[in-house]
Point group: C2
Chain length 339, copies 2
DNA sequence: TTGAAAGCGCTAACAA
DNA sequence: TTGTTAGCGCTTTCAA
């Protein structure tokens, strides 16, 4: 752009060398008088330092990229927002990309090579060989939100999905549920696998027998994908036979609410429902949704903080952290009293 | 990073000059044999071009920034997603920032100076003098999604809020509503102002008298902010006196559904409800929500396309486009037949 | 305290 | 077809 004044222009107008102008603007090693004059000129000219030139010189851009599976899922909106907030405190920008399939995630990671970013936060649903390989090749410090092998060189912040599901099921048992259905997301994803394990452990731990007909998996962690899965569960199990449903996330839980309502099954009167992630959706739903907070915001904050620490050289790049879940009880598991 | 090979390393290993290496990799003006050899060496070394250096040289980074008021509102998730999709086709990255207050928006615009971006898409809720000024100072081509004065130098893509509200109200009148309440967002925002105008026009156009007690405004376009506003409306107007509610967006509409349910008022039996934006929330809600599609995705796509055209030099920077609204009818305004 | 000069990694004139 | 050279805007040695 011809219109954008460079530091050379500022220096010329101020009658100093480029180096002096740089020092004056940077704040170090120029006489107060010179510094003031240069700053004034810069102001008048509307000088703004060119971030690209500075980045080339310094090797850092101040930008962090984040790859999430589904930007439309409120849980990632929450996570992203937490990351952005944490980064803003360090005056860094967040760049969000969306990729779900292993190949797309790998491609996205590769694309952020020695690029315009200083660090990377990846939320992989399916951390298979392809993704792990791409992560190992990433040329900037990387923190993963999700599960990775212990040996992984990347920093990891994870939820405790299994404990979360157990929390949900213990709660349902307490409220008198006996036949608890489970609507999962895809089992080939990390959360899908862990949540199924958590479900089976909790059922077994309660002394209930394992009934495969109570388990069903949606093709995706979305409302649309969950609907047929929920319907299949209700058809198969016989609607009255189920007295509670645990959903692998809030979108799936809301689909369950809808499917139950369509069949005239009252929640929580005839069937209890628990979601996971504790997104805004849980408050909004009618009835409002009991949900397991898997610490989305906390994970985002921790991941961002860890990445910043690594970039500052303050921390090991490979630290693994786990965030504890918490149950938030709402109407979908509470017998009605008022109104 | 010491580990990242530069083009100089590739050139050395291939026994050619840096310029030849660049040409070989770029695909122009090198002999096939040389090109193959250089590409092979680059492959072996794991060479990845440094985007920052390229950007400094070419003056473009391939990055577009977008500033939205509220990343958690599904309508912006939708818009952002559409933009990202459009940009990806041109191999560009999207950088999303969140800012709502005029000062924050202005600051965000300023921060993206001769920075790491080639273009900017801004979605301002309150395009006051401060924001307009910042927009005029933006050092990259900018497209605004929202309303701006005709004289604005920026490209503009806008929804037709007024027509949208009219669509909603005509629909409600058709379904027999007589006393239609309106739950707006903040009136000092562009959508708030236009939607209120649309409401009044439509009411007047139908020959109904203007009743200020039917109008209420939330402090923000969110579920939480809408709740007290909806309650105030119901309290004030007398719950039975209202037979339909138009909400300024889906989040507010869902709050209305909740407040009505809390009072035992059946939707759509006793009161019809229409939302705006036609987000995923409208499908998810129970009852599902009739909503006016203001073309969020279309606006995103158009804004991105226009920005790309400007960057290519194919288009005027100041084009103004309006997207037509469409009504999507669902349960919240449909008397029940099945189930 | 200041200036001259080198260089970050790359592309593109200009010569050869 | 290839190499040499300059330069994008900035920071930072090294001298003065």
């Amino acid at each position: 752009m011809a219109g954008t004044p460079t530091i050379a222009a500022v220096a010329r107008h101020a009658g100093v060398s480029v180096a002096t102008a740089s020092r004056a603007l940077h704040g170090q090693g120029a006489s107060p008088a010179t510094a003031d004059r240069v700053r004034l000129v810069a102001q008048e000219l509307g000088y703004r330092p060119n971030a690209v030139a500075r980045a080339l010189q310094s090797g850092r851009t101040g930008q962090i990229a984040m790859i999430v599976p589904d930007a439309a899922n409120p849980v990632y909106a929450r996570m992203t927002s937490a990351v952005q907030h944490e980064l803003a405190a360090d005056d860094r920008q967040l760049l969000v990309a969306q990729a779900q399939e292993a190949s797309a995630v790998a491609a996205a990671i590769q694309r952020f090579g020695p690029q315009l970013i200083d660090g990377l936060i990846v939320v992989p649903l399916r951390p298979g060989p392809q993704v792990l390989d791409a992560l190992d090749r990433a040329s900037v410090p990387t923190v993963v939100i999700g599960s990775l092998p212990e040996s992984a060189r990347q920093g990891v912040v994870r939820a405790d999905s299994r404990a979360g599901v157990r929390l949900a099921i213990d709660h349902l048992l307490e409220r008198g549920a006996h036949r608890i259905g489970f609507v999962n997301g895809p089992v080939d994803t990390t959360p899908g696998r862990l949540r199924l394990e958590g479900y089976r452990e909790a059922i077994a731990g309660a002394g209930l027998e394992h009934d495969p007909s109570l388990e069903v998996a949606a093709d995706d962690f979305t409302y649309a994908a969950a609907m047929p899965a929920v319907r299949a569960l209700l058809d198969r199990a016989g609607a009255t036979a189920i007295d509670a449903i645990v959903a692998a996330n809030d979108l799936i839980a809301v689909a369950a609410l809808r499917a139950l309502a369509d069949r005239g099954i009252d929640v929580p009167g005839d069937c209890l429902v628990v979601g996971m992630d504790d997104t805004e959706l849980a408050q909004i739903a009618i009835p409002s949704l009991t949900s397991v907070d898997l610490g989305a915001a906390a994970r985002g904050t921790l991941a961002a903080a860890q990445l910043l620490a690594v970039l500052r050289g303050d921390a090991e790049a490979t630290e693994h952290t786990t965030v504890e879940p918490a149950l938030v009880v709402r109407e979908s598991t509470t017998r009605r009293e008022r109104r």
